[in-house]
């Protein structure tokens, strides 16, 4: 079927601006992904899935510029004992990175796979992404599979003693980066991955996560403080029996962020939590789009998203829980809430449940509101100044999302950043 003319020309222009890294075991997956993009075209504003978020700056051939912002802050997870892997404007920086050897895990660069004809990641790369293309198309993810220049390929075989930290640095105001990570967690294995920093002026990110029976993965992301960033990220997670996946994403600032998460339960008794907290001010558009598919018995999914919006910022949430026939005893929870600090900001939410099993417990709720005046007065009547009381109430609002992080230390560092963001706006 022919694509609409504008979609066709945008897609062609974007494809023509990129070149596919050739060779190695992933080439077939890349070619297949590019065909998917050609077939569907890149998203445009007429697509239902992009009703609340304009994709044009994500699909245009040349990335809009984004000024590099020096926050003067120490990078988020510097205080933690971790393995650091640094990408500058999407390019691996060996000198700034740690040695990748760590017991319980093997870490390789995606770019190095071009020289390998056989590699385990072939069974995951582009495979989970392709599964995630139905029932809803995600052409930006397919584009990433086709053209991603680098990334990390992580195989968790045991319980590495420290987290793996992907550190992103933004150095050029016209950088346009595409990274694709693959994570495979073996049965009984457990790891924590941290991602932080502004990756590039425009950043396309895909992480495919395959968790075997009884495996566990924690993922905590912080997307950097630069104001003009454009981020399109995708998590594709496939969960085996009794496995656990917990992810949390912090977003402060950035003109446009679209964070998609596609979770699929294939084994019984598994748990997946996807959470996010964002705070945005003015020219800030933040979109969480989540799709959870229950295709196994007695699995638990939680989606917890909180957004604080000021000065005309926009928050979007599209979250779906699909419970397939036979996925009995599903426990699905979804909450998306925004705190609007003024009348100019807005929150657009589309929560959806689609259930084909009869013995399930699913709940969803979406709210949008201002700070509770009674609570504010109560705090002030005890001597807490208005600005501080407002911040306290705001952090309290975000707490339910931050609490999804299992590690108290990591949660505390996220809270510090949130507090800092609020304090700078007093």
């Amino acid at each position: 079927m022919a694509l609409p003319e504008l979609k066709q020309s945008t897609t062609e222009a974007r494809l023509a601006s990129l070149s596919m890294p050739a060779g190695g075991c992933l080439e077939a997956a890349r070619r297949a992904a590019i065909s998917r993009v050609q077939a569907t075209g890149l998203p445009d504003r007429r697509d239902e899935y992009w009703k609340y978020t304009r994709p044009d700056t994500l699909t245009v051939a040349e990335a809009p510029k984004a000024a590099v912002f020096d926050s003067g802050e120490e990078p988020m997870f510097d205080a933690f004992d971790r393995i650091k892997i640094v990408f500058v404007d999407g390019v691996f920086d060996a000198a700034a990175s740690d040695d990748l050897a760590l017991e319980g895990v093997s870490i390789e660069r995606l770019a190095d796979l071009a020289g390998k004809d056989i590699h385990w990641s072939k069974d995951i790369y582009g495979v989970l992404e392709a599964r995630g293309q139905s029932p809803v198309e995600r052409p930006l993810a397919a584009l990433n599979t086709g053209y991603a220049t680098d990334g990390v390929v992580i195989h968790v075989t045991g319980r590495p003693s420290k987290p793996i930290n992907l550190v992103y640095r933004h150095q050029s105001d016209s950088s346009d980066a595409m990274l694709h990570h693959v994570v495979k967690v073996d049965s009984g294995a457990e790891a924590t991955i941290l991602e932080n920093g502004p990756a590039a002026s425009r950043f396309s990110h895909v992480m495919e996560i395959d968790i075997a029976d009884t495996g566990t993965l924690h993922l905590v992301r912080a997307q950097g403080r630069d104001h003009e960033l454009r981020n399109a990220t995708h998590l594709f997670a496939r969960l085996g029996r009794e496995s656990v996946f917990k992810s949390f994403t912090l977003t402060v600032n950035g003109v446009l962020t679209r964070n998609e998460a596609v979770i699929e339960f294939l084994g019984d008794d598994a748990v997946a939590h996807v959470a996010g907290a964002c705070v945005g001010d003015g020219d800030f558009h933040h979109d969480d789009t989540v799709f959870v598919t229950h295709d196994a018995v007695n699995c638990e999914s939680r989606q917890v998203f909180k957004k604080v919006l000021r000065n005309g910022a926009t928050g979007v949430f599209q979250g779906k829980i699909l419970v397939k026939e036979g996925a009995q005893k599903t426990d699905g929870y979804q909450i998306s809430q925004s705190l609007l600090l003024d009348d100019d900001s807005q929150f657009l939410a589309k929560p959806e449940l689609e259930i084909y099993a009869d013995d399930v417990a699913c709940s969803h709720g979406s709210t949008s509101g201002a700070i509770d005046e009674d609570g504010l007065f109560y705090l002030r009547s005890r001597g807490v100044p208005e600005a501080e009381a407002t911040d306290l109430m705001t952090l309290a609002f975000l707490a339910e999302a931050v609490e999804e992080i299992d590690s108290d230390d990591i949660a505390a560092s996220i809270n510090d950043r949130l507090y800092g963001w609020l304090a700078r706006r007093r």
């Binding site: 007065f377 002030r380 009547s381 005890r382 306290l392 109430m393 707490a399």
Partner: protein, 251 residues
């Protein structure tokens, strides 16, 4: 200590006059009680003194130790020493009780130009005061008032009062919803704070609290005014005969 003169207050949103000329002076070191029928304006008076939005002062003044209160923000009044124990303490999900207390204590110290309490000093003081009020460690950790029983909320108000050591304590029906033992705890908490430099305004419907907290002066409020003032015997009269006689007397 607290001097209220000819205070007139109406609702901001509607044209409804609630306080119609309240005159009241609470001296330092004294306990004054206010009784009065439902809807007479007792809580409104306490809110206006604490600085809640939604009310408009159309006439009159209220000063604390000579400082005009009504122009100030609620936090400024608190720093001067005003404390209101709420009739309905507010639940604040997500803010830990301990964090709340420490933030409040330190904010007031800062406003008064005093040094902040260190985390360990603070903890020591809180634990000690919480213990006398039978507030356990778990309640201190939980979000402010969330899931607290009615009595626990009231005890938590008294704990805040004990931590903040205000000059002027206004207690709005702190006895309602308390069992006999809890009432005793609360009264002991108040009595422990009785001091030459501190005034109390205790709003209540029942004599029972006043058995424990012996007031120096009792006022009767009706329809937005103090209509009668007397000694502790006035509270007994209300307990025995209700308000009918007093209301008839002034009518």
């Amino acid at each position: 200590m607290l001097e209220i003169k000819n205070l007139h207050v109406k609702l901001e949103e509607e044209d409804k006059q609630i306080l119609k000329g309240v005159n009241l002076t609470v001296e330092a070191g004294k306990v004054h009680a206010i009784m009065g029928p439902n809807g007479s304006g007792k809580s409104t008076l306490s809110y206006v003194l604490a600085g809640k939005d939604g009310y408009e002062v159309t006439e009159g003044s209220a000063t604390l130790a000579g400082e005009e209160l009504l122009e100030l923000e609620p936090e400024e009044r608190a720093a001067l020493g005003v404390f209101l124990a709420f009739q309905y303490p507010v639940e604040i999900p997500g803010v830990g009780n301990m964090t709340f207390l420490r933030t409040a204590v330190n904010a007031q110290r800062k406003a008064r130009g005093e040094e902040e309490l260190s985390a360990s000093d603070f903890l020591k003081v809180v634990r000690e005061k919480a213990k006398t009020l039978k507030i356990d460690a778990d309640m201190l950790k939980r979000p402010v008032n969330v899931g607290f029983s009615g009595g626990e909320k009231k005890r938590n108000e008294i704990l805040q009062m004990a931590m903040l050591e205000p000059k002027m304590c206004i207690l709005d029906e702190t006895d309602s919803g308390l069992d006999v033992d809890a009432m005793k705890l609360v009264a002991d908490g108040v009595n422990a704070l009785r001091d030459e430099g501190r005034g109390f305004l205790v709003i209540t419907h029942y004599q029972r609290l006043l058995d424990h907290i012996k007031p120096d002066v009792v006022h009767i409020m009706a329809d937005g005014r103090i209509i009668k003032t007397g000694g502790p015997e006035l509270a007994l009269e209300v307990e025995n005969n209700g308000y009918a006689d007093i209301l008839a007397e002034v009518a």
